[in-house]
Symmetry: C2
Amino acid sequence: MVVKGIRQLAEHLDISIGTVSRALNGKKDVNEDTRRRVLEAAERLGYVANQSGRALRKGSTGVIGFMMQTGHEITGQGDTFFMSVFDGVQTVFARHGLDLVALLCSSEEDPDAYLERVVARGFADGIMLSATRRVDHRFTLLDRRKIPFVSLGRSLTDVGQPFIDLDFEGMATTVMTRLATRGHRRIAVLRPHDDLNLGHVFLERCRAVLAEHRLVLEDDLIFNAAPNEAGGYRIGQDLARHSNRPSAIVVLNDGSVTGLFHGLEAAGLTPGKDIAVIGLHSPQARYLSPRLTCFDLSLRDLGISLAETLLASMPAYAALYPNAAHRQLWPMTLIDGESG
Amino acid sequence: MVVKGIRQLAEHLDISIGTVSRALNGKKDVNEDTRRRVLEAAERLGYVANQSGRALRKGSTGVIGFMMQTGHEITGQGDTFFMSVFDGVQTVFARHGLDLVALLCSSEEDPDAYLERVVARGFADGIMLSATRRVDHRFTLLDRRKIPFVSLGRSLTDVGQPFIDLDFEGMATTVMTRLATRGHRRIAVLRPHDDLNLGHVFLERCRAVLAEHRLVLEDDLIFNAAPNEAGGYRIGQDLARHSNRPSAIVVLNDGSVTGLFHGLEAAGLTPGKDIAVIGLHSPQARYLSPRLTCFDLSLRDLGISLAETLLASMPAYAALYPNAAHRQLWPMTLIDGESG
DNA sequence: CCGATCTCCGTAAACGTTTACGATACTATG
DNA sequence: CATAGTATCGTAAACGTTTACGGAGATCGG
């Protein structure tokens, strides 16, 4: 047996709907006995307050949306990446009865228009962004609509938004000094397509670090590729055929690294021997041969921080997270492998 | 400038809210000039009807939820898998103004309780399920709540639900006859953990096909492993150390196949030479060396069918999809590689 | 010129919930 | 006993939207 609305539930208990609502929401002014009766009946009859009615009255939905784009791969980050981040986010949200949903923007729809539509509808109380682009109108849009949000990734578009981004500067410093001091002179970088912001901050710092070693990052050694196996494979082939092959390559694109390995191997090159390969976070790093030297980070903790940063910018929760960082670069640690 | 509700928009235009609503929703009884005026103003002022108010009044949300579980990997299917399916789903939904969102169930919450909560709230007009388990209470739950749904995957729990599942029977027939006729006598199977349903239907058919060749599927050659690189790698090592090693292994678990390759290689075994390896759909199949022999399918088309099947079970749309299959086994084609 | 029809629009009810407010009964205090 | 205070509950308004209904004006046919 399933009951339809709070009115039915109230009639069934012979109590007014006001009292039932107060009982369910843990409000004052309700006898403990009746509260127990109400809760027990709601549980037994499978009553849960209607989302639309509740949201309409309260002015908030209790939903946080994480925007993702389907179809064409933008980031190439596998499900393990986002699913781990999500799990961290949820542990924080669960404490406040907030629900996380992924807002899926079709590849056939303009991301900006999609987001505007969703936000204007008041679908979610807060928004999480990822795959941030170099100039990203979504930030100005969200700022204009005055809806709390946080982004996983930086952008040149700056409206003072909170964000957490991977510490590409730290990564660049670590990896470039390592390679330079090990005698590498010509270093390549593989990154996803140019619109995304992450490549630029990385490259900028790379140039600075290399300059200290009197080295330059040559333009024709900066490769773009789709963030997947195919993209990595193609670059592996290209490297093998390169007239003046670099001695090392840093791969920002974690979805491409196994493809790159296989592309190199197919051309007779061994990573770590013929060419040093250093990657970003990669769940399969340990199972590649040779083992991939790459950076590691705690995705779950990142998700927790992401949630806290968002809540800190929401009036209803801000007081609970007084010292959440407004903007944060997430540290990564280099894990030694055999590839470089 | 942004306008808050339909009331403000109506005042701004000096029209009643009824007419504004009719104009926006393409209803009759509204002058074409005023309709244009309304649409233009809404566009200019960034008005979009509030989700909660609209859903409350109309009794439907226009949202379809695809349930996924975060944290621990259940299926191991990478983002390319679901994102491609989603994209197919969206092309159908877009025609009807339906929005697809992913309902993310935390690893700390019981999936059944989560789904019940979401459905009882009236959050979505329809539900899509995946990672179906052998006995899966979600089906009885959705059936009891009388909410339209479809699942990607079968279950022993049968409430007459519509579903689309991969054609594991066809796959079993194809792969086992291929291996048997090529002289393989001891064949192993790698599958994800036992709760999931997909392994069972596959194994059952495998046994039947092998029996025709007077062969048996030995119990100790049925391996379970986490559907990721680590799981595959471990099985690769186990196979190498096996006292009576099988000559072939079929991998249902697409997230494990590269790990398996690397595990085998680390132990000095070459796929396709020392042991035949045949996998399920795998985006990196072409970039492994040796190239993986595996099954392929159109994920985008699968998504389209999934959406059509769901809509066919929703009263409001059923008439538009008269010949959508209620239950369907999705065909896969074997792609020859070098691994078996 | 009258009645009928049509076009267009405004009014108000309804969706399910939360919550401010007031009412009632009971307890405590003097 | 009177009064103040407290505990508990019911009533009704409000959230933003859609839509059934009716009304006003215009058009048309006879």
